[in-house]
């Protein structure tokens, strides 16, 4: 079971959280500026990397806050957690190029 650092509460068991898919998908400012394919990309298409993944989690059985997690999907190593308004953390080369 993962040990996840909630940016508000600190380290908690994975069972207190829910994974909510890929992070940093911004809702288009004006959806009508998007053609059907672009809108389809926003709705349906998600990354499924083997390796480093930026994803959203919510501390659903805790403070109920949403935040972002950088996780290696191969090793389950959590490389960083950060609040929605915080900048995307810069990873070291070693972290980005973890064995897959």
């Amino acid at each position: 079971m993962l040990l996840i650092r909630c940016p508000w509460c600190g380290f908690r068991d994975q069972s207190e959280f829910q994974a909510q898919g890929e992070a940093h998908i911004t809702r288009p400012e004006d959806p009508y500026q998007l053609d059907e394919e672009q809108w389809g990309q926003y709705l349906f298409f998600r990354k499924n990397p083997k390796g480093v993944h930026y994803e959203r989690w919510v501390h659903v059985h805790g403070c109920r806050r949403w935040f972002n997690v950088v996780r290696n999907t191969m090793t389950d190593d959590i490389l960083a957690t950060y609040r929605p308004e915080e900048p995307i953390p810069v990873l070291s080369d070693e972290e980005t190029n973890q064995p897959t």
Binding site: L3, D76, P84
Partner: protein
């Protein structure tokens, strides 16, 4: 009752003052407190304890620990019974009952042993080969295979015990309470950090319990006792004996199973938990898990009376039992000589078969000086066994390469054989935690290599092939210090002087599969590398011949390592056999990953308290006690218990619902609507948020007015609906469906936190803060009038508005909204007053013949009016336009969640599934919900399916059955006649109508 013929003089770890009587296969035996079932049976001269899985061969006790592959018994009877319990781990208690498994009619004469005669017909992979054709016959075979397969019997009654679960956090978790673990716990404990020391045995001491040596001049058992009592005195150290760490997961999360009171017997312990499952998050882990002795494989090596040499030492030194009088030790290394010396010390006859050509060194000298016969460079080629006991062995000289035997057979009389092929470090947990393993050429075993990055683990002692006691203890001490230091505690690194004497061991001969008088796989004898599942080296040859030559294939084809022991004594020998056959080194073959649990977990310990009444929570409204008294029949809506209908006398559900529905439209009805989701929204940007969440416009909603809204996801599909009311300038009260309350709350939080964090909106779930009575019907106003000072006339309290005031002397918010189409008031009061409000409404309503009604009538009443229920008439693929609710979708608003998706090609199709009404030809026929609507009925599927029935009822107010359906291109089908295919093969003709049936 038999005398304990194999019991020795000394006490060892037994309490000789406390005799215990236990039963095995309906015979009584006596042992002592401190015995296991295995040691108790061996002390009484019993070797044969069961029959094997496939060939029903007689089997005995093979080990003295949790690695036991053979001595699996059915423990206890009736509701208490458990199959496949290891006799080597069961502590005996007064009145214990155990039975052998896989034997009929008895373990000495077993009918299934015929399998053994037909073993040519049961080769590896025989299920796959034999029962695969013709495919349709698998169903026939399966019944019989199931009957033959498996060991033991499952209980058929509910388990009377209960099982506990607990969480624990510690700085250092030490797995294994042997010498290394005890030293680690002492070192870490002295630093003041929180320590848990867990050991699977009922006593701490590990391998030292099987020793008789001196440590610093005192007997090693006394050393254990003094160390453990010092640890017990440390408040920061928790000692968990009878506790197996069964799983090691990410981020130092471990699961352990503690047998809390099984050793007291099932009948006296019903009031405390039988087992406890520990979920432990440790900052650092010290693995001091020891090593398991490795067997050698020879002809008929599965006979009772053959066991690991280390097990013999355990039985002598721990359990005061010498399981034979005339013993032979078969070894390829020096460590087994200790067993021979112990046997000699206890007055037993012993000789040693050492497969090495010229063993030398201090161990050999000790044995020689004691007059022990050492037979060098020989293999066992046959085993004489009869009537439950080992009688003799046959030996022959090994050829130079060890692959054949030469010379003449010699027969040795003996009743006990101890075997040793060296030691395998217990690295199962390390491998489970994604640690990498490496094959160590000098020790001929797998060792821990690279730990998983997200775990912090240190190994100490023989689990990393450190074989000498003093070194193990020093490593344990160092590991305890290091773990405590990593956890931020300061340690005094100095360790006590340790003196255990020093022994030099010679090298082992790397040979484990010993040749018999016939080539392996031929002749009558069998070489079992895997005792639990009856897999032989011959099976490995066969598997390779048939192409199953990778480790993963071999494992599945021969079932090696797939028993409840997970191959603790067999996996590596299988690899050796495979490497010899394929002429590849073991590192080139690879190894399969160990999986949790280390030893089997009971279903009870996994379930814990999550069963029976506690399986799922029951949410009850404040009015629930009244519903109980009124004979409500409940329906589960989410976790809520909602009255479905109120049964009067012997009334059926159908009759009750018809009565309730008529009554609501005739005079008045009362529904407990407390379960509706309620969200309190405050803040200056709430209106903006509502405009995004709902399809309609919220700009002009005045204070005190209510509005119905549909909520869509970004795909444009309906996912919830409800009425939201403006309580004050920046204060709204939102209601949601009962089942959708949590989903809507999360939805709002998600958008507020992730996309629009600048909005000033505070969302609070208030579902349980309000009790709601929904008063419906033509007499609703008259009834409410008697209980409130709120003016109720049409002008001062119009439809879709809210007034605050007193109802039945309780502060209330009254909403004039309706889900039945009748004049209706939803009266909200603080939850604690809900029951009082309800009782007064019923009391006042009595003269109007008011009728409490349940969710089933609510469904009928709303269907009569064509109101949808989200989740019943919609399923996440339905847009507002699909249900004919275009009127609620704003054309004016530039954006709201889901709007853009209306223009997607698929969403804007005109022939989507659309909501329509259906009327049957036969007005008395109620269509089954979920039934398929087809254009043309055929004698069998497939038929052209147009859609399905979402809601269907008998409507008393219309006087006929009604149904709602989602039909492809439904709007254009209105007026047409279609058919509904029924499960029984019949069909029903229906006319497509508007879904609004009652238009008054």
């Amino acid at each position: 009752m038999k005398k304990q013929i194999n019991r020795l003089e000394h006490d060892a770890r037994l309490n000789r003052r406390k005799s215990i009587r236990f039963w095995f296969d309906n015979r009584a035996y006596v042992g002592y407190e401190g015995d296991t079932l295995a040691s108790g049976l061996l002390a009484n001269g019993i070797h044969l304890v069961g029959r094997s899985f496939k060939y029903h061969r007689p089997r005995g006790i093979y080990t003295a620990g949790s690695e036991e592959p053979n001595a699996l018994v059915q423990l206890e009877e009736n509701a208490f019974t458990e199959p496949n319990r290891r006799a080597t781990e069961i502590e005996i208690y007064e009145g214990l009952i155990a039975h052998s498994q896989n034997c009929w009619p008895s373990r000495k004469f077993d009918f299934g042993a015929l399998n053994s005669w037909f073993s040519r017909l049961l080769p590896a992979g025989f299920y796959y080969k034999t029962f695969m054709w013709p495919t349709s016959f698998w169903m026939t075979y399966e019944k019989y295979i199931r009957k033959l397969a498996g060991l033991g019997r499952s209980p058929t009654e509910p388990d009377p015990h209960f099982y506990d679960k607990t969480y624990a956090h510690c700085d250092v978790l030490i797995i294994g309470g042997g010498p290394a673990g005890i030293e680690a716990a002492t070192a870490a404990g002295q630093s003041g950090c929180r320590v848990i020391l867990a050991d699977e045995k009922f006593e701490f001491g590990g391998m030292l319990l099987s020793e008789n040596m001196l440590i610093n001049g005192i007997p090693c058992h006394e050393w254990i006792d003094s160390k453990i009592s010092k640890l017990r005195a440390m408040p920061n150290v928790k000692l968990l004996n009878r506790t197996t760490v069964t799983g090691y997961y990410d981020y130092n999360f471990l699961v352990a199973n503690q047998r809390v009171n099984e050793h007291l017997g099932p009948r006296v312990t019903i009031n405390s938990p039988k087992e406890r499952l520990w979920k432990i998050r440790a900052k650092h882990v010290v693995m001091a898990t020891g090593a398991i002795e490795r067997p050698m494989v020879f002809a008929d090596n599965d006979r009772p009376g053959i066991m690991l040499a280390s097990a013999i030492r355990s039985y002598i030194n721990r359990f005061s039992t010498l399981p034979g009088k005339n013993c032979v030790i078969l070894t390829n290394n020096d460590s087994a000589y200790h067993a021979a010396l112990d046997i000699a010390d206890e007055g037993g006859q012993v000789s040693i078969i050492d497969i090495r050509t010229n063993p030398s060194g201090s161990m050999i000298e000790s044995a020689v000086s004691r007059g022990i016969r050492i037979i060098k460079n020989h293999s066992i080629t046959g085993v004489g066994y009869s009537r439950g006991l080992l009688r003799s062995i046959e030996i022959m000289e090994l050829s130079e390469d060890g692959l054949n035997v030469i010379g003449k057979k010699e027969k040795l009389l003996c009743d006990l054989v101890g075997i040793s092929g060296g030691w395998n470090p217990t690295i199962h947990l390390f491998s489970q935690s994604k640690g990498k393993l490496k094959f160590d050429q000098s020790n001929h075993c797998f060792l821990a290599d690279q730990p998983s990055k997200n775990n912090s683990v240190i190994l100490a002692g023989s689990c990393q092939a450190t074989w000498f006691l003093k070194d193990c203890m020093q490593e344990g001490h160092a590991a305890g210090c290091e773990a405590a230091k990593r956890a931020g505690f300061s340690v005094d690194g100095a360790s006590d002087e340790i003196n255990t004497g020093q022994i030099e061991y010679g090298a082992l001969r790397p040979l484990w599969i010993l040749p018999g008088s016939h080539p392996i796989g031929q002749g009558k004898t069998k070489h079992f590398h895997e005792l639990h599942n009856d897999a032989t080296v011959g099976d490995i040859h066969l598997a390779v011949r048939e192409g199953y030559e990778s480790v993963e294939h071999l494992k599945r084809y021969t079932t090696t390592g797939m028993g409840t022991d997970q191959g603790k004594t067999s996996n590596l020998n299988a690899l050796v056999a495979l490497s010899e056959i394929r002429n590849l080194s073991i590192p080139d073959l690879g190894v399969t990953t160990f999986r949790p649990p280390y030893t089997p977990l009971s279903m009870g310990s996994i379930v814990g308290y999550d069963c029976g009444e506690l399986f799922i929570q029951k949410r009850k409204t404040p009015i629930h006690p009244w519903h109980d008294q009124a004979h409500a029949v409940y329906e589960d809506v989410g976790d809520w218990k909602r009255p479905r209908y109120y049964s009067q006398g012997k009334e059926t559900m159908h009759a009750a619902v018809q009565r309730e529905c008529r009554q609501v439209r005739k005079t008045a009805g009362l529904l407990d609507a407390s379960t509706l989701g309620k969200i309190d929204l405050q803040g200056k940007d709430t209106r903006w948020l509502l405009n995004m969440l709902y399809t309609n416009v919220w700009d002009k909603l005045e204070v005190g007015r209510c509005r119905y809204g549909l909520m869509l996801n970004e795909h444009g599909m309906i996912f919830d609906d409800g009425v939201t009311t403006r309580i004050a300038e920046n204060h709204y009260h939102m209601t949601t469906t009962t089942g959708g309350a949590a989903r809507v709350m999360s939805w709002i939080e998600e958008w507020l936190q992730t996309e629009w964090p600048d909005l000033e909106v505070y969302a609070t779930s208030v579902t349980e803060q309000w009790a709601v009575a929904s008063l419906n019907g033509p007499n609703a106003r008259e009834i409410l009038q008697e209980l409130t000072d709120i003016p109720l006339d049409e002008e001062s309290f119009p439809f879709m508005s809210m007034r605050e005031g007193q109802v039945a002397n309780i502060p209330a918010r009254v909403f004039r909204i309706s889900f039945t189409g009748e004049l209706a008031y939803e009266i909200n009061v603080p939850a604690r007053h809900g029951l009082a409000l309800w009782e007064q409404l019923i009391e006042v309503g009595r003269k109007f013949d008011i009728c409490p009604y349940g969710t089933e009538s609510m469904h009928v009443l709303r269907a009569e009016k064509g109101f949808i229920i989200v989740g019943q008439d919609t399923d996440g693929t339905v847009t507002p336009m699909d249900v004919g609710m275009d009127w609620i979708v704003s054309k004016k608003k530039q954006d709201f969640l889901g709007k853009r998706s209306f223009d997607r090609t698929d969403t804007s199709r005109s022939d989507r599934k659309q909501l329509v009404g259906l009327l049957t030809d036969d007005p008395q026929f109620i269509l089954p919900e979920g039934a398929h609507v087809v254009s043309e009925v055929k004698s069998k599927p497939p038929m052209n399916m147009l859609g399905h029935i979402t809601s269907s009822y008998m409507s008393p107010n219309i006087g006929r059955s009604i149904a709602i359906a989602l039909l492809k291109d439904g709007f254009n089908l209105k007026g047409q006649t279609l058919n509904v295919a029924l499960m029984n093969g019949n069909s029903q003709r229906v006319i497509v109508t508007d879904p609004v049936f009652l238009n008054v």
